[in-house]
Amino acid sequence: MDDSLRIGSYAFHSRLMVGTGKYENFNVMKDAIAASGAQVVTVAVRRVNLDNPDEESLLDHLDGDKVTILPNTAGCASVDEAVRVAHVAKAAGLSDLVKLEVINDSETLLPDVVATIEATKILVNDGFTVMPYTSGDPVIAGKLIDAGAASVMPFASPIGSGQGFIDFSFIRLMVKRFGGVVPIVVDAGLGVPSDAAQAMELGADAVLVNTAIARAKDPVAMARGFKLGVEAGRLGFLAGRIPRVDYARPSSPGEGVIK
């Protein structure tokens, strides 16, 4: 059965996306990406360090044949900034994908959803495949989809917090309303593979993980853990779970017991 993940005109067999931030060095990052099996890898856009213009390039350590680069607009606090950074990223000629982040609250790093909707409209119009980082609010997700978003990326908990799901009821709502319309990619806050499995069991189409892998004691092992978590959760979702009931139901026959 073809169970590929489709985002705009892109298709992937892996449902785990990974970030490239916070790694101790490029070698660990490379090994972790390989162990994760991820085909979508996020990167950030920053000024060249003119005091060290010759520093190693991140792109030299990413295999463009194996992974698709997903530039983000992290650090952008307004519509204008995010649109500008997205265009700069696209000019690098790697893809028209953008993980759209508009954040202006440094303490919570919660998305400015109003600005995100506005920026989505502009970037879709400019020919981007837009993947906006958003809250768990299904109403906002609906507006992003109306604006032309190719996926929605709700957080599980604040970026980098490793709390897993604070409340997964919203993901259920989102899946119910938009499952099959655009991919729902749970991004941010996942801490351990079971968080990823839970997201996938709930019907998320993919997850994106950075800090939980990059800052684990053993990032490569954690990357593999997340890969398995995502696969386990996806199978659990596709297989169809049993209904939850309030009382016990015996697994063994009630008749024929020796008395």
Binding site: Y23, V43, R47, V48, L58, L59, V88
Partner: protein, 68 residues
């Protein structure tokens, strides 16, 4: 004649009429890995050797770094 331009938000002195390509070489920036914005317009790599810099021009030189 020297001019003052703004590169990644900081003032730099260089000669009037220098091409973007030559200026990048001076800075030691590899043109393959950097994207260049000139006065808020993204420059195609093919244009680096024809576009010249003048007083108060603004350049942004950016590249990809690790991020989530």
């Amino acid at each position: 004649m020297e001019i003052t331009i703004l590169v990644n938000g900081a003032e730099r002195r260089t000669e009037d009429g220098i091409t973007v390509g030559r200026f990048l070489e001076r800075l030691g920036v590899r043109r393959q890995t950097a994207v260049v914005e000139h006065n808020r317009r993204i420059l195609k790599k093919d244009d680096y050797d024809s576009v010249t810099l003048k007083e108060r021009d603004e350049l942004e030189l950016v590249r990809f770094v690790g991020g989530g």
